[in-house]
C-alpha cells in the first residue's frame, strides 16, 4: 500500500468527519444565534439562563459532556444516537462560544440604525432579523472561523461514540499495517485539506455577502 492508497482508505472516514463538523457547526450557529438574539431582545427574565448556559458550556470539556450525553443519558432512559450526541455536546459548546462572538459583534451594530428601524415601526424581532443579524454576521466572520476550526479539531471525539471518522479509520489501519507514521501524516494532510476547504467556503460566503463599508476586509 503506497501513501496515496493509505489516503484513499482514510478518506472513507472523511464523509463522517465532514458530517460531524457540519452538524456541530450548524447546531452551534443555531444555538449561538438564539442565545445572542434572546439576550439582545432584552427579556430580562431569560438573561440569567443565558448567562448560566454560556458559563457552564464554555467550561465543560467536550469529551466529558459527550460521554455524559451518550453513556449517561441512557441510564435515565434517554437513548441518544452518536450524531445527536455530538450535536448535544460539541454543538452546544460551540454554541456557547459563538453566542459570545455574536454578542461582541452585535455591540458593533450602530445604535442609530436600530433607532431608525424602531422609528419606522419595526418590531424588536424584525429589527433583530433584518438589521442586527445581517450586520453582525458580517462582523463576526473571524470569530466564526475560529469556532468552526475548533469544531473540526474536536471532531475526532466522534470515534469514541462509534462514528467511523478519519481518526477511527487511521487507528484501524495502523493496527493492521503498523505504519503509524505514514498513516497519521496522511491524517494530518486530510484534516488540513478539510480545513482549507472549510475556510475557502467561509471566505466565499463572506465575499458573496460583502458590503462596502461593513465588515473585516
Amino acid at each position: 500500500m503506497n501513501f496515496f492508497e493509505l489516503v484513499a482508505q482514510l478518506a472513507q472516514g472523511l464523509v463522517s468527519t465532514v458530517v460531524v463538523t457540519l452538524v456541530c457547526s450548524g447546531t452551534g450557529m443555531a444555538v449561538g444565534l438564539t442565545v445572542a438574539g434572546l439576550r439582545r431582545m432584552g427579556y430580562a427574565r431569560v438573561v440569567p439562563f443565558l448567562d448560566g448556559f454560556t458559563y457552564i458550556f464554555r467550561g465543560v470539556p467536550v469529551l466529558v459532556l459527550l460521554f455524559l450525553v451518550y453513556f449517561g443519558l441512557p441510564s435515565v432512559g434517554i437513548k441518544v444516537g452518536p450524531l445527536l450526541a455530538m450535536a448535544l455536546s460539541l454543538g452546544l459548546i460551540a454554541g456557547a462560544y459563538l453566542a459570545e462572538v455574536f454578542r461582541g459583534a452585535l455591540d458593533s451594530v450602530e445604535a442609530s440604525e436600530i433607532l431608525a428601524a424602531e422609528a419606522m415601526g419595526m418590531s424588536r424581532f424584525q429589527i433583530l432579523t433584518s438589521i442586527e443579524f445581517p450586520q453582525m454576521l458580517r462582523l463576526a466572520v473571524p470569530g466564526m472561523i475560529n469556532e468552526f476550526t475548533s469544531i473540526l479539531k474536536y471532531s475526532p471525539f466522534a470515534y469514541t461514540v462509534g462514528i467511523a471518522e478519519i481518526t477511527k479509520q487511521a487507528m484501524t489501519l495502523t493496527a493492521t499495517t503498523l505504519r503509524g507514521i505514514e498513516i497519521y501524516l496522511a491524517v494530518g494532510v486530510l484534516y488540513f485539506l478539510i480545513y482549507r476547504i472549510l475556510l475557502a467556503g467561509v471566505h466565499y460566503l463572506e465575499k458573496r455577502y460583502q458590503v462596502p463599508g461593513l465588515g473585516t476586509t
Binding site: E110, S112, E113, L115, A116, A117, E118, A119, M120, G121, M122, S123, Q126, S130, I131, P134, Q135, R138, V211, P212, G213, L214
Partner: protein, 245 residues
Amino acid sequence: MALIRIRNLVKQFGNHTVLDGVNLDLQKGEMKVVMGPSGCGKSTLLRCINRLVEPTSGTILVRDQDIMGAEVDVRALRQSIGFVFQQFALYRHLTVLGNVMLGLRKLRGMSRAEAEAQALFQLNHLEMADHRDKYPSQISGGQKQRVAIARALAMDPAVVVFDEPTSALDPVMVREVADLFNRLNREGVTLLCVTHDLALASQIANRVLFLDQGVIRADDTLENLAKHHPNDQVRAFFGEKEGRS
C-alpha cells in the same frame, strides 16, 4: 383639526427637566420649524411624538388620537410618522434601494416587485434612482439624506419630521436642502423640522418657534425675533448667526 397637537408636554430625565410644558400645533400641509440652542430638547421633543421617548406628562394628539393612551398601537403610530435622523441612519448592509424597500416589505407586507416599484418611484422623485445599487458608504451626505427622505416618504406618512437636517452636511448644501423641503411641502408633504441652522430656517419658513429652557418661548418671524424680541438672549440667538447665512 391639527395633525399634531401637543399640550403641556413635560419630559424629565431623572430630575433633569428637559421639556417643561411645550405646546405646539402642526396643521396638515404645513412646514413648521422649531429652533433652539444645542441641548434645549429639540431631539427629545421629536422623539416624544413617536414615543421613542416616553413623555413624563402632557398630551400629544396625532390626528386627534391621544398617543399616550394604553390602547395605542405604537408601531402603527411610528409608521405614520416619517423620521429623518441627523446622521440619516441608513442601514449599512443594504443598498439604497434596499433601504427604501425594507419598510415596504416588512411593514406593508408588499411583494418584492411591488416594493421595488414603490421604492424606485420614491428614489426617482428624490433624484436618487441612479444610485439604487450603491451602499451607504458609497454616497455623499446629501445623497444619504435624500435616501433617508425617500425611505420615509415610501411609507406614505402623515408627516415627516427632520432632526437637524443640515448639521451633518457641508454648509454649501443648505440651499439645496431648503429647495428640496420647499418642493416637498408644495407637493403636499407636511414637515416638522428642528434645527439650529438659521440659514436653513430663513429659507423654508417665515415664522419659527423658539424652544428654550423647556418651553416654546417665542413664535414669530425671524426678523421680529432678531430685532424686536424683548429678551436679549433670544435676540442674540437669532441675530448672532444671521451673518453666517
